[in-house]
Amino acid sequence: MHFDTSAGRNPIDAQTIVGRPHRRIDGALKVTGTAPYAYERHDAVADPTYGWIVGASIARGRVTRIDAAAARAAPGVLAVLTTLEYDAAPPGFRTTLTLFGGAEVRHYHQAVALVVAGTFEEARAAAHLLRIDYDSEPARCDLAAEAPKSEPIADRDGPDYPVVDRIGDVEAALAAAPVTLDESYGTPDQTHAMMEPHATTAAWRDGKLTIWTSAQVVSWHRNSLAQALGLAKEDLRLEAPFIGGGFGSKLIMRSDALLAALGAKAVGRPCKVALQRPLIANNGTRRAGTIQRIRLGADRDGRLTAIAHHSVNGNLPGAFAEAAVAPTRLIYAAPNRDLSMRLATLDLAEGNDMRAPGEAPGLMALEIAMDEMAERLGIDPVAFRIRNDTQVDPRRPQRRFSERHLIECLELGADRFGWARRNPVPGSVSDGRWLVGMGVAAGFRQNLLMPSGARVRLEQDGRLSVETDMTDIGTGSYTILAQTAAEMMGVPIEAVTVRLGDSDYPEAAGSGGQFGANNATSGLYAACTTLRATVAARLGFDVEDVVFADGMVTAGRRSAPLLDAAKDGPLTAEDRITYGDLDKEFVQATFGAQFAEVAVDRFTGEMRVRRMLAVIDAGRVLNPLTARSQVIGAMTMGVGSALMEALVVDTRHGFFINHDLGGYEVPVHADIPHLDVVFLDHPDPVSSPMKAKGIGEIGLCGAAAAVANAVHNATGIRVRDYPITLDKLLDRLPRVA
């Protein structure tokens, strides 16, 4: 099904099942611990060997020698694979890194050896017996020091935008503006910290490989691994039915998959490898820290006349930029604009995708700047954002937004949150020892369209089976796909079985960039549309005016059980959704308004988030229960971004020193209050036949800035360098009388 004109009325609009808060159909498996993840496939692999990855202990240079004799002689060891014995593996999709092979070391904890043994304990113990010699070169690992040597860079995911994106004359507009702002903001390196480590079980049989792995996009992993192994992709089967979180870390293939495959091959037995937690931050990818300069100019009425946003970050040579200016292209109107990015060289773990790449760090900065500007103008920050809304792409004014209800998000949110009670004078509200403030920020994230396929089968017992290599990384894919099939075919959700994450199934969009739900359900919509036509033909109906409901197929006064269509055997339909140019003709995006109330201890600077509200405009919400979980989860990550998350570089050795879940702080129960979410109801017929849009990332966009702005409102202290830890407040807290 090619989607190139706005969707008209279709069977999903009935919303008897789609759009309703169904509990997860895989919930019982997850709460009982019976959902199988990649490292625990005892059902599929009876007697695996265990691999332990050894990471480089330098950031940059060459491995000169690996003495593996002692390790190879250690009890239980079956093989030691060293990087010097392998050719450098070609980088996979969306990465510039060699995961294993060759002498060159490009970042700390790059995999340089794999020890394979009969047990986990034997592999771990033997790994400590390796002697590895390096020729070390000085590592570049301090962004502030390297930034002056940065070079202009284009946006990998925004190829239509010039490297320096200028409209009008920003300098003249800033010079003429009665109110201006020129500030720098810092966002730190972050790590995904998903709960399930990267993990793979690999088994070879007759030259063909099967891996059970933790992948967000099955086809990307499969293609990357096949390429790295020099294998035809038909000879590589990948299964990923359950994934313990990803947030972008599992978008691209990692060393666990390659090394499990190589290890299994080397020992002639299945091998399983999980990246040890202390390796993940440096061996895996990171969200790259940024230094952003934002300049704003406005007239006295609070209309922006100029926006300039420049971001610099660092990455490995040949890698790409964190597109922090991306949201600024489209979120506010201003006739004069100047947006650009620069990239410095840093010999750290590769900067790559993490939840809402570009938008999340960009809005962490921009939405503080907007708060500061509102304060300078003496305008309420909600009103200031509303005043600068745009209904068109500022760069191409003939290009409208398909649906854009940011103003409604802000107004409804202000009303629900009690924004009118906010005292605009910072540091003026007390509650005992606490200073209390409220903050707001706008959220913006693009809606991405990706081809996606699915297969649906009407079984002879009337049940439906859905098969697609789509993944469920916690997003609720199983459930929304079941809802979609049930709605399309007129059966209860209980009659649908969904099988995911198997490369033998039709290729789907996968999970990432908040593109999963809308595209995967649209692919299934396409397959169901084909199945409806087949069913109608079998039953002698004209598909144009047929209704599928309550297990019956009805046209006019004639009706037949759906089941009858399959009486001679199951009916299978497979199709995929592809897209025309509607995303070029219209801007398709999601919007949010984030509100936070934060209390700051006037003596210690301790910060507590008391309540938060997000109002989200993301097209049709396919399942308000699971969608809400996506948003509160993103808000929680936003609290982490605001108050605690930062990878700390040891600049002497070029590695992230807080590379585990003890040192890298993420929010815990005690940090998070009850979170409120409101969804606007604006289905977007330009996005897809489902009229849905992305939901997984918009809840993060703006969340950190709302907290930061609340801290400012509470204390009068403006921190522009995330995370806002109490040491940054202590010497600036208001005097205690």
Binding site: L29, K30, F242
Partner: protein, 179 residues
Amino acid sequence: MARAQAAGTMGSVVVALTVNDERRRLDLDSRVTLLDALREHLHLTGTKKGCDHGHCGACTVLVNGVRINACLSLAAMHDGDVVTTIEGLGRPDRLHPVQAAFIAHDAFQCGYCTPGQICSAVAVLAEVEAGVPSHATGDLTAPVTLDTSELRERMSANICRCGAYSNIAEAVADVAGRS
């Protein structure tokens, strides 16, 4: 604790455990953690390995009724102990009330921390019942009540990166309110 030394291997130990009401006897490398004994030897993979360092709580199980991080404990230390894992609390067709409440409140997403969260929650309810105080307990002489701050404090060793905390708190409060 019985000890055996197999030729050419590291020290091995025989450990007798009662796991989910079943008596199990294991001959293990002495370095095997309780977590790996459960996951790799007994194939009880509901207990998760998130960090293997006692940071994340995904491996929380009940040992003699008290919650511990199974990754921080050697199996050899548990000879004679009674271990309850997520599989012992309930099954898909016979859910424990906390498991059912997690589904009802959508108190999880990826599911990887979930068994640990549920084991912790079950233990928290028992701790409160037994009057065990926490850092958040205001009055050590009064009976402990499971208010929001008590609940969040007691659950804070179980990280959920998907960020389901708000829903987990409501799921556990729901069960606490009923009992």
